[in-house]
Amino acid sequence: MINSNQKEESSKLARRLSDAIGYGTVAATIAILFFFLVWPVAIIISKAFLNDGQFTLDYFPLLFANELYKNSMINSMWIGVATTVLTTLVSLPLAIINAKYDFKGKGLLSGLLLVPMVMPPFVGAIGIQRFFARRGSVNLGLMEMGIIDAPIDWLGPENMFWAVVILEVLHLYPIMYLNLSAALANIDPSVEEMATTLGVPRWKQYRDIIWPLARPGYFAGAIIVFIWALTDLGTPLLVGYHETVPVQIFNMITDVNENPVGYSLVFVVILVTVAFFLLSKFALGNQKYEMMAKGHVTSSKNEAGFLGSVFIYTLIIGTVFVALVPHISVLITSVSDKWFMTVLPEKYTLKYYAQVFQAELPFIGIKNSFLFAGLSTLVDLALGLLIAYVIVRKLVPFPGLLDSLVMVPLALPGIVLAFGYVVTYTDTFLDPLNNPVPLLVIAYAIRRLPYMVRSAVAGLQQTSISLEEASSTFGASRFYTLRKITVPLVMANLIAGALLCFSYAMLDVSDSLILAMKEQFYPLTKAIYVLFLEQGSGSLVASALGMIGMLILTACIMGASLILGKKMGELFRS
């Protein structure tokens, strides 16, 4: 009897201890969010309004008086708008086809549509430089065919805007497509059937029934695309379109202590993204309707006829081909040996791939990226699971608040966060000049945390709470239950989320370019950028390195979509 009592006591103690560790982790998580998300942003905002400790609005007139900054803001805004409109035009027909029609090879083709996601558009920018240069493949080809007489300056200053927009569209349309598809798939087909029985014409059904129901999903995707395009640093940088806000911020980081206008520019970016985010969330996409129980969902899809199939195949394959032009051009560039004044290279070689592993810089890039992205994924796994658990099981007083806080990085441009880190942590033990690894890992982790949290939340919501309650009735502590019951059940979601976090960390441009200041710490993307700027064969090695990066990412994203299936779309919404 005494013995069993002692046992009971010790197990009680163990339970208390594990509870304490658990709550400690939650507290640490919240501290991390505070120091590496809230605090840096707060510092930027405060510096935009402070001069020697005095409140001032002087910087903003300076900002708007400067032609360069003013033009940059206008240009970036238009990049965001044009990209959003164009991605919508590209994705809408594809999403409707996906929701309404069945055809042979649908799974494969739908998968192909997502391929462009695997490459940061700035790598594509390297490829198209070769193709669309004055003496590049496209001009030469067109001249050979006699369509044009003189080469067109595709990437000249007057065309750079569209070059950036098109690269962004080709990269970002899958996000819009996933969101629209998910939104359309969620609509109970019987609501349309009902309208049909009432004699409502097709176009009116789209206007009065489908659109209101799909609207929240559309705006959830649209805002991500808009912010992404508006704040992407890599593409305009490599295309050479420097009159954009991200490039200006990038240039200002070095002299931020002398020039406080930089803070006000970043503040304007924060203001714009927050404003559009709120607008999309509350004014345009707030009304989410609860779908009633679904009827026969299968009956809603039409078998595409012959002409329909031809049209569908043409549309999808055409889209994928155009979207892959930058990738293909990178591929060809990376294996080209002698390539001068011809449409395609005269000779091919794999020596640049060999150089990736022989030369120091590319290899450092790959090694570092694997390390940083891997570490950040582990951080995301731990934080994401805990936060999701705390949110879904409502273990903190305001779970909704924590949820919103975790989602902030989706709307917060990477360039703002990186800028904030430099400002906040320079001259501290985390100074990125000395060793950027901790900040890089944390930046990668924080920016991808929303994917992990969303993924884990989706899994937890499908896991009945009674499974955990049952465990607790047997005397298990919360964290024993978490380990033995909850985690195994949401494992698929965790793996998928982790793969996405890893991929996007590997692709990260703004944090990598800004925070990694010494060569020994360069991640993949910064290595590609630096190689690209080098004379001689640098851009060829950069292409080869880009291809290797793409291969790694293709594997990760395919893995994630295999595991997640149709739920993939839910990860890319705010």
Partner: protein, 366 residues
Amino acid sequence: MEVVFNKVCKRYGDFTAVNELDLKIESGSLHFLLGPSGCGKTTTLRMLAGLETVTSGKLYFDGKDVTSLPAADRGIGMVFQNYALWPHMTVYKNIEYGLKLRKLTASEVKSRIDDVLTITQLTNFTHRLPGQLSGGQQQRVALARALAIRPNVLLLDEPLSNLDAKLRMEMRDNILKIHKQTGITTVYVTHDQKESLSMGTSISVMHAGDLIQTASPRDLYRNPNTPFIAGFIGETNLIEGVVRKKEGDIYSVETVLGNFVATRASGNYDIGSKVSLSIRPEAIAIDWSGNGQGDNPIQLKVDHLTYLGESEQFLLKSAQSDKQIIKANFYHAPDHSFSEGDSIQCFVPKSDVLVLPAQVEMGPGT
């Protein structure tokens, strides 16, 4: 293990889910918490399990205050409505899980698992995953898992509500048998009054957060203390009236259908007080002599009838009031068939008329 609730309350903001519950559950009994959905019975069970915190009041196990003891320390075994079997563990692992947490010896774990597998007839399914089992088998695994840890109290939350009618009957017998074998104090939540009448040692009826009556099944059916229970446990006719005469236990109540004499009452009612009369459909008898013999004679007209084979279910109206519809079941109706519109001379034995408080106080849903 004796379980005592002392003024236990559960509030969610302004909403009171359970209101000042006082209840003593005898050791070894099979006690039912019965009520319509939303009455607070599941909340009560979850407070007992420690899955829901108690807003105020005290909870005792064998006299020991367990009000703020976490679920993990209460030594209860619970069967959830959806069974809550862990889908990634086999039947064996599901049962073993709770035992492993108890740091028992390997042989003890093994023998306990074998015991409960035998009791629940699951010996052949140990290596299946829950998804590979039928509903009834899943239910038995849930039961086996809860029993294996030899709980102080076994809690069953609508354990049969996901089974079809035939399986439900089988499992009722099973649970009764297991309860008899183990003698574990068991608290059983259900909204099915037949389940509670046929199985329970005692039944507590809850309504809108209040415990209204605790009694044995027989007593509950025969002597419900409110019109709500009379209507909820079985069927009844409730007729509003006013007490006009009272001699000892014999009441005379004036209603729209005339005066009724009753010899049973749920309490003491003064002359002039408003009351409800409860008359079970099977208590109404036909006066074949047709000349108003027997207690409480009443002339009724057939409004609608449903033929059920062994009996006939009548909806009747009285000559005096068109609004009051009377339900009656006539068994073994002699070789005589009624049709709608016929008049029938009936009577109601005065020991089958029960005086209850007036219905208005019960609010909606009664």
